[in-house]
């Protein structure tokens, strides 16, 4: 069975998708900004989906980098 890669959204976002998502998040969005927002978001989704490292799925997504030895 091929490994499923989570790219976040199921397909590249359109201008309408971005406008709708921003609305649902309560964020005001300028019509003139929609293309640049979707370019940024789609490019990031593609880049992260394409990460192909055998250890990735077995590494914990720890959010912080505390200096543990010193604490």
């Amino acid at each position: 069975m091929p490994k499923e890669v989570n790219r976040g959204y199921s397909e590249p976002l359109t201008r309408e998708d971005v406008a709708r998502l921003a609305h649902l998040r309560g964020l005001p969005v300028e019509e003139s900004d929609l293309d640049e927002i979707r370019f940024r978001l789609n490019a990031l989704s593609d880049a992260l989906a394409s990460l192909d490292d055998p250890e990735l799925d077995t590494t914990d997504p720890l959010p912080i980098l505390l200096d543990r030895e010193a604490r």
Partner: protein, 472 residues
Amino acid sequence: MPSNELIYLPAHELGARMRRRDLSPVEVVDAYLARIEDIDSKVRAYITVCGDQARAQARDAEAAISKGDYLGPLHGIPVAVKDQFDTAGIRTTMASRIFSDNVPDGESTVTARLKAAGTILLGKLNMTEFAFGDTRDFVFGTPRNPWNLDRIPGSSSAGSGIAPSAGMTAVAIGEDTGGSVRLPAAMCGIVGLRPTTGRTSRYRSFPMCWSMDTAGPMTRTVRDCANLLAVIAGHDPNDPLSSPRPVDDYSSNLDAGVQGMKVGYLHQLINLEGVDEDTRNAVDATRDVFQSLGAETADVNIPLLELAGPIYIAIGDSDAADTHESLLRQRHRDYDVATRTRLMASSLIPASLYHRAQRARQLLRKRLIETLEEFDVLVGPVVSTPAPEIKEVQRVFVSEADVRNRIFGARSLTTPFNLAGLPAISIPCGFSGDGLPIGLQIAGRAFDEATVLRVSAAYEGATDWHTRRPPI
């Protein structure tokens, strides 16, 4: 001494002369203020200049030194600070329209420590809006590279790169979340250090990414960088990420050389798509210098390294989106359009992608730490090309490929060390064919800034790149 020589003396030389009372802090401050008056309209390094206050502080420093109340190597030394750090009673704007009249009632830990060391605050420095990297419309004027006014000075600590380079301060403070100290240092031909996460305090520094924001020194020499780091480093109970480890003596070992040290060359970054020939050649040429000084050099490959850019953006920008959410709802039209679209995009990043980036971050950190068990330092380029044209950086993104080509690769050079929380410096290592500075990045083990500085000092001592001055 003519003021055009005075403004380019290393800070440690200024300090030594002041201590001997061969030079007055008042004279030095006046020389820098005159320089600022003369050229700041061309380069836009400063948002706020504290002339009267600086002169008063200089008189106080002169009196104190005369009485024998010498506070250390930075006593009486003029400093300028990125306008991201709160300064009590002095406007702090983050280069944002929203905070253009903001006067804090308290002091950041970084500026408080500078004050306690006897430095003299010349003013607050220009930056890209809220420390994001690609501002198009600068509220306080477009910062320009003193080596070529049509080029960017690097971001986000733009003024902190310009001011030491152009002789508009002795030393400066920047802040580095994804490269914001090292990039302007490289593009302006100075030294800039991003310390280990937790080595300098984030208290009352306007946040971008809580786990990567790091204040760092920006200077004309490695020794000045070491002295400035010693002042701002150290535990701060006001910052929960601040490390309680004792602060090293960064300057005592600067002349120890690199004999027998192992220097790893980051093959993927040096050969990354987009790294231009001048930059690659300049970085490659440093091997001969290190070898001639007795170091051993070898190529290093670290999986994921070349993908650090998008990993960083997913994490750093998501954190920033959280910081800005309320302001974005209330004042979105007061943001620069590039900041706004970047924040809007990062507000819509799904948690699954954020976690994927965090997994990659941990892997990258583990691999860098393991590699640094074998090598004393790792080196590579800071930026893929010398300073690009302002109009090129300010272009609107026209496709996903445009975002990928202009941002992801370039951000992969500096961000591995932010993601891993490791110290990394930029020092001058050459010039492009059209006369623009090129920086060499040297990264080290966590809390081992002393070795990073020692290796940097050895390279600096064997070359003369750091002695060149911009034509302005």
